[in-house]
């Protein structure tokens, strides 16, 4: 049993989440609705991260659930169009997707000289990735699927009742709201105030609700992503229900794996005006995204952060050699050898693995009291082994260690989900990453995602150049075609629109323009003085550049002399050879 949250994991979460602090202001996210035990202990849902795919007639949804609160007060419900199948997912999928599809901003600095440009900093300085949400949850888990429905007398609203990993779950008929909510309450699936109203659109014959709660003895750290498969055509997020426990500007991050670029069917498509991102040296990216989507009517807009080949994510979760051979791992009979094998085969020591290991290789209380993080304990196990009760002082066998159960759990909770997720991504050639931020009062329309084969890709890389003239002020040129003068090396302080464009995207055809802020932005940016750059072919000027009325003349004779010396040396070397 996990005795306390891993300090290392908490620290990682704090540092990494800071990069997306605006989008994910706290450590709780999911698709669906968190059920709050009471108004006095609000359970917030601060973000959702979902991967959708469609295969045959089924929607496959990988949903990351994060939660803050007491374990016995955790509850989560989601409406579904059919009876789902349920599997365990892995947080590693979302960490990988987030990192791999995060937009990158690359700033190049150029020095204007003698009629041309020359990079002054190699490939440019400021190649910048926005920093993923490398949140490592402090989760642990039980393993496997333990169906218990066969022993239960089902009936009434209950279609299926079982357990999977750390969860007890129930699939309920949603044709009678009163009966469904009563059953949830009777069975300690907490139902927050406000659920009744928010759930009404989903209550009708033929509909279902999936309800989750943590099994007895499980901790909130055991919460793991789930994989739902259900019959449906288009993926949808039941955001209307989510409003019950959501926070302001809750970030929603969606990946859709498919045959073509995914689009928000009933939300506006927003193209980010990224000038403020460049101006802020990338620090306000998330804030700018929120500002941009809020410029869509009803604040119902999605930004496409990436659309293109899925090849950039395929193989990352299951690269050759990763995870090694489970039979070999199972044969490691000492904690030391076992941990060495895990480190050597690129196991990610995230919250899930730490929790699993903590049950089989518990950290000694003495080290806990000393404040040694769990990860540090495992990383330096051999050094700390003297603190392990019953351990041979020479680092010998740790008597109670049994590699069988822990390996089974690693296989079920880490290796199999990662390989399944990788296989899913490999079956779909295209991947789209979409983002929005919604406040509860704006969660009035459930976003549905379809696709459009005619829309182009959205690349990850965004570029801009800061050019320094021979004299005068620098200016910025972005890949979207905007230019703005810098003053004393600093960007201007302008009040710019958050969105470059607001569009409608359909299942076919080009995007339809709703609002184009290009002219407004250009007007705000004002004119740019590039200086006068003379042409080398200009017989009257030679090589030089003019900034305003001030002319800067370079020494052409020196350049010719250097060129002549170079040619002479080359000729000499040829003769010598």
């Amino acid at each position: 049993m996990l005795r306390r949250p891993s300090f290392a994991a908490v620290t990682l979460a704090t540092v990494a989440a800071g990069a997306l602090a605006v989008a994910y202001p706290s450590d709780a996210r999911a698709c669906g609705c968190f059920a709050q035990p009471s108004a006095a202990t609000p359970v917030v849902q601060a973000g959702e991260r979902i991967l959708f795919a469609h295969e045959a007639d089924q929607v496959i949804a990988y949903i990351q659930i994060k939660y803050q609160g007491a374990a016995d007060q955790f509850g989560w419900i989601v409406p579904l169009p059919s009876v789902p199948t349920l599997e365990l997912g892995t947080d590693a999928l979302f960490t990988m997707l987030d990192k791999s599809t995060l937009p990158q901003y690359r700033l190049t600095r150029q020095q204007n000289y003698c009629g041309g440009f020359q990079p002054t900093n190699g490939d440019g300085c400021g190649a910048f990735s926005l920093g993923g949400d490398d949140t490592t949850s402090t989760s642990s888990s039980d393993m496997g699927v333990a169906f218990s429905s066969g022993d239960m007398a089902l009936g009434g609203v209950v279609v299926e009742q079982a357990s999977i990993g750390p969860y007890d779950y129930a699939v309920l008929k949603a044709d009678d709201e009163t009966a469904m909510l009563q059953w949830l309450s009777d069975n300690r699936y907490f139902v927050p105030a406000g659920t009744s109203d928010a759930a009404k659109p989903y209550i009708h014959p033929g509909a279902y609700f999936l309800a989750l709660k943590l099994r007895g003895g499980e901790t909130t750290g055991d919460i793991a992503p789930i994989v739902l498969k259900y019959t449906s055509d288009l993926p949808m997020i039941p955001i209307t229900l989510t409003q019950v426990g959501a926070v302001e500007n809750m970030g929603v991050l969606v990946w859709v794996a498919g045959e073509a670029r995914a689009i928000p069917r009933n939300y506006y498509h927003v193209v980010l005006d990224d000038l403020p991102v460049w101006f802020s040296n990338f620090t306000t990216y998330n804030l700018e995204m929120i500002n941009a989507v809020h410029e869509a009517p009803g604040k119902h807009g999605f930004i496409t952060q990436y659309a293109g080949s899925s090849s950039l994510v395929v193989g990352q979760l299951d690269s050759p050699g990763r995870y090694g051979d489970l039979a070999t791992l199972r044969a490691e009979t000492t904690p030391s050898d076992y941990l060495h094998y895990l480190f050597a085969h690129n196991y990610r020591f995230d919250g899930t693995l730490l929790s699993i290991l903590s049950r089989s290789i518990p950290e000694p209380q003495q080290l806990i009291d000393m404040g040694v993080p769990l990860l540090q304990f495992y990383q330096n196990y051999d050094s700390y082994s003297q603190y392990v009760p019953g351990t041979d002082p020479d680092g010998g066998a740790f008597a109670p260690f049994d590699p069988g159960p822990v390996t089974d759990e690693i296989a079920t909770r880490i290796v199999t989900p990662a390989r399944d997720a990788n296989a899913l991504l490999a079956r779909h050639p295209y991947l789209t990453r979409l983002y929005t931020a919604l406040s509860p009062k704006d969660m009035t329309i459930d976003p549905v995602f379809s696709s459009n084969r005619e829309l182009g890709d959205v690349p990850l890389l965004h570029t801009a150049t800061v050019t320094t003239a021979c004299s005068g002020q620098q200016w910025l040129t972005t890949d979207l075609g905007f230019e703005v003068q810098y003053l004393n090396g600093l960007p201007p302080n302008l009040n710019l629109p958050g969105a470059l464009r607001v569009e409608l995207t359909r299942d076919a055809g080009p995007a339809e323009l709703v609002q184009d802020n290009s002219d407004t932005i250009r007007a705000a940016l004002g004119p740019v003085d590039h200086g006068h750059q003379t042409s080398p072919s200009d017989p009257s000027s030679g090589c030089g550049c003019t900034v305003g009325k001030r002319r800067v003349q370079t020494n052409v004779a020196v350049l010719f002399a250097l060129c002549a010396v170079g040619l002479a040396m080359r000729s000499l070397r040829r003769r010598q050879s």
Partner: protein, 147 residues
């Protein structure tokens, strides 16, 4: 070209109905809060195999795109009369409708196409229907089906 016959199913019913162009069709409530037209189709003189089924819907008045959806379908061995019927109705996703496009109380052109290699059209069926909101959910249906 093989004959592909769509036959929309009325709300709550699972029997095949014969509809004609321009006929009203009550939208069937989807389980996640949407509303859809369900169609069952049959195809004749097509070898058993896996094909791409393309479902499209456009507003008849102006051709506005309501739906374009592709998925694989396994066509079985035809009966003695040469017809193979889809085992169950399939949804034509209507609501939530695309922004700015109402799909209720106006004619919608539906097309089913079976595509082979290289997107070659193997069979096609067209029908125009007038989707109507179910009376019991008229307010909610109207809200999410009128763009």
């Amino acid at each position: 070209m093989p004959d592909l016959s769509p036959a929309p199913v009325a709300a709550g019913e699972m029997t095949v109905l014969t509809l004609t162009d321009g006929q009203d069709d009550t939208l069937v409530e989807g389980a996640q809060g949407g509303f859809h037209v369900w169609m069952q189709y049959a195809v004749r003189d097509l070898a058993a195999g896996t094909y791409t089924l393309e479902r499209t819907a456009h507003r008849a008045s102006d051709g506005a795109v309501v739906l374009v959806f592709r998925g694989d379908v396994d066509v079985g061995v035809p009966a003695a009369d040469g017809w193979w019927s889809a085992p169950a109705p399939i949804p034509m996703f209507m609501c939530p409708s695309p922004i700015g496009i109402s799909v209720v109380d106006v004619p919608i052109d539906f097309t089913l196409r079976l595509l082979g290699a290289g997107d070659a059209e193997l069979a096609r069926a067209d029908i125009t229907l007038v989707p109507r909101c179910p009376e019991a959910q008229r307010d909610f249906c109207t809200r999410i089906c009128t763009g």
